[in-house]
Symmetry: C2
Subunit: 87 residues, 2 copies
């Protein structure tokens, strides 16, 4: 078993209202930052996970996303195995 | 002026307590996912911004981070200009 470093990106599904993104955009505008387009705010979850291989690591983390890390109704997720974690 | 797509990663500073990460790790363990190391939960903020150049875009977004997007006491941020946004 090897430790793999994984990165999960959870983002609001396109087309679904993103009130946090709208609030950030409005706040940036109030601060004088013009020229900012539609803002999307998601979560970035990073951790090491033990697995037999990179593929097995990705598969386990996808199961974690479906069960806990993402809301399947409103969010999309993307799993990246970035590297074998340092021993 | 060109639209650049930017990605901001805001993460809890190493060494500072990350209660959300600990909660996620505990919940994964309760669900039967063993072999998960320390979990860090951050934010991923994605938007297009108008600027003269890639460097100018990164500089403006760093100013946004210092003023609004990140908490300088407890969080680190990382700005990536991923591409000129599609016209």
């Amino acid at each position: 078993m090897t430790d793999f470093q994984v990165e999960v990106r959870v983002t609001p599904r396109r087309g679904i209202l993103d009130p946090q993104g709208s609030a950030v955009r409005g706040a940036l505008r109030s601060l004088g930052f013009a020229g900012v387009g539609e803002v999307h705010v998601g979560r970035l979850i990073v951790f090491p996970v033990e697995a037999e291989s990179e593929d097995a690591a990705a598969e386990r983390v996808e199961a974690m996303c479906r069960q806990l890390l993402a809301n399947p109704v409103t969010e999309d997720f993307d799993v990246r195995v970035t590297a074998p974690a340092a021993a």
